[in-house]
Amino acid sequence: MKLWNHRKTEDLGGGWLPGKPGRKFRAGGIIPKLTAAWADRRGKIPGLPGYITENISEELIRLEDLVKIYDTGALKVLGLKRINLTIHRGEFVAIMGQSGSGKSTLMNILGCLDRPSMGHYYLDGVDVAAMGPDELSLIRNRKIGFVFQSFNLISRTSALKNVELPMTYARKGKRFREQRARVLLERVGLGKRAEHMPNELSGGQRQRVAIARALANEPPLLLADEPTGNLDTAASVEIMELFSQLHKEGTTVVVVTHEEEIAAFTERIIRFRDGMVVSDQPNMPRKPRQEKTGSAGMPGQGNTAVPEGEEEPC
C-alpha cells in the first residue's frame, strides 16, 4: 500500500492534467486506460467475476486520493478534492455536510453510480474506479444496497416485486426470490403488506420496503442517501432504528444526511465541506432531542442513540 500511495502522490503532484500516468481520467487516452485495466485486475481471482476477491480485508471501503472533476465545458469544477477515507466492515457511519459540500458526489461514487476522475476506490478489495458500466451494475447488484430519500420504489409494482428486483437482476430463481422477499418484508415488519402497491403504503412503510429491497442480495454495504428526508420524525426514528438493528447484525451502513438528529444514531460522523473531509470523528452517543421524537419509549432515551448492548465506538 505504501508503494502504491507513493506513486500516486507523485503523480498527483504533476498537476490536474488528463492523461497523466497512473491516473484515471475520463478522456485520458491510452496510458490511463492501460493503467486502469491493470488496476482492474488487481486483487481479482482470474476467471471469476470482478466482484469476487481474494483479499477480503477488514476495510470494506478505501478511498485513495479520490478526485472528482465536473467538466462543464468552459469550466472544470472540483467536486471532490483528494479524499482519503477508510470504512471498515461493520461500521455505522454518517456522512454529513451542507448541500454542495460534495457529500452527494461521494455518495454517488461510493454507490458505484459514478466514477471518480482520479484516484482509487477499493470496495471489498476491488478497485472499482476503472470499471465499465456493466461491471459497475454487477457491483451495485451484489455489493451495495441503496436506500434513497425518495424511496425510489417502482410504481405499479407490488412491494414484493420491488424487493425481488435486485434478485431478478442477479438471475435468482423465481421461487427463491419470492421466498426471500417475503422473509425480508417480514423482517422490516411489512410481512402483511407484501402485495401492496407503493402508493398504498405510507412513507415509512415505503422506506422499509426500500430497505428490504436493499438487503435482497445480502450486500456487504448498505448505502442510504438522506433516508429520512421525506419522513416525519416518528418514521425517521423507526427507519434509523432499523438501520441500527441491521448494523448490530453486522451490516456496514453508510448514511448521508444533513440532520444532526439522524447522524446521532451512527457511530462515526464524517463531515464534508467544499469537497473535502473536514472532520472524521467517532460519534459520542447522545440523546436525540425529546421534543422532536415526540413520544416516550423512543430508542436513545437511555441516553444512547442505538439499541442497548451496542458497543461504544471508543
Binding site: 453510480l113 458500466p133 435486485p166 431478478t168 437482476y169 438471475r171
Partner: protein, 403 residues
Amino acid sequence: MLIENMLMAFSAIRANKMRSFLTMLGIIIGIGSVISIVSIGDTMRGLFEELYRKIGITQAYIAIGYWVDDWRQSDYFTLDEMERIKEIFGDEIAYIDSDAFTSGDAVCARTTVKFNYQGIDYNYQEVQPVNMVYGRYLNEGDILGRRKNVVMDTTSAINLFGVENAVGKTFRTTIYGTMDEYTVVGVYKKDLNPFQAMMLGSNTDGGEAFVPYTILTWPNDYFYDIRIFAKDEESMDMFFDNLKAYVAKSKDRNPEDFRMETAKAQMGQWDSMMGGLATAVGGIAAISLLVGGIGIMNIMLVSVTERTREIGIRKSLGARTKDIMVQFLTESAILSACGGILGILLGGGIVTLGGRLLGVQAIVKPGVVVLAVGFSAMVGIFFGIYPASKAAKKDPIEALRYE
C-alpha cells in the same frame, strides 16, 4: 427473466390503455389489411379452383388460332375427324364433343323463354355430373338418332312450364332456322354456390338445356372447335400437346397455328392475377405497418422519457445495459404483437363476415396468422431498438435525479 419482462410490459401497457391502443392502431390496421387481403386472395383462389373443378379442370378446347390469316375450310372440324381423334387418343380422352352452343326462343303454350342449348354427348354426365331429379339423362340412342330430346335444370323447367317435373312435356323452338318440337326427358338440379352462379352466369328468367350435339352439328357437320376432357389430370399437359401436334399435322399446319385453351391454364391466370393484386395491396398494407412501427417508436420514446427515473432505479439495483434494453424491446414487441393479434381478429373477422354475406367459406390460413404475429413482433423489435438503446444508455445518476 423473460417472463418478468413480459409481465412488466403488460403492466406498462395496461397502465396506459388508451395510449397503448392508439399506438397499436397502426399495427392493427396494417396487419388487419394484410390478413384481409391475403385471405381474400386465398379465398378467391379457393373459389376459382372449386369453380374450375366444377366445370372440369381437365377440360380443354382446340381450334384454329384467331391470329391465323388464311383460314381454310379444312381448318374446321368434322364429326369424322372427331371420331378419328377418339380412336387415336381413346385411352386419354374422357369425353369429347363439338362444343356446340346455340340459343333460341322456347315456346310452350303462351310462354316464351329464351333458351341456351348446349350440345352434349351421352357420357357428358361422367365428366360433368349433374343431379338428376326427374326422368333420365340423354342416352346413346338420343345422340346417334339425333332425337329431339332435351335435359334441363329445374329453374328452366319452372320458367318454361311452371313446374319442376317437366318430364314428357314438349316445347317448340327454332334451332338453325328450323322450328321443331322438343321433348323434355329429364330434369336436374343445379347446385352452385353464389360465386359459381355469378361466374357461370346463370340467368334466372331464361333457360338452359342439354341437347344431343349431333343436332347442333347438323346439317353441315362442320364445327369450329373440339372440346375434350382428359382422363388423367397428371399427364394431360402432354396429351394436349400431342393432340395439338396431331391436329395440326392432319390439317397440314404448324402446331402454333392452333389454339389450345385449357381450364388449368385459365385457372392459373386467375391465380396469378389474384397473386398480383394481393402483392400490390399487400405493399400498401406494408406501408401502414411501417407507419404503425414509427408510431410505436414514438410512444416508446415518450415512455422511456417518462420512466427515466424507473430506469435509474433499475440501474441502481444492478440492471445492466442489456437488461434495460431487453425490457424495453420486450415492451415494444409485445405492444406491436398485441396490435398484430387484434389486427388478425379484425382482418379475419372482416373476411369471415364478408364471406358469410356472400355465402362462401372464407379461408384464413394459420400460416399467415403466425407470420403476421411474428412480423408485427419484428416490427415492434425493430422500431423498439432506438428507444430501448436510448433507455439503456441513460446515466444512472441523471436518471435517478429526473423528476
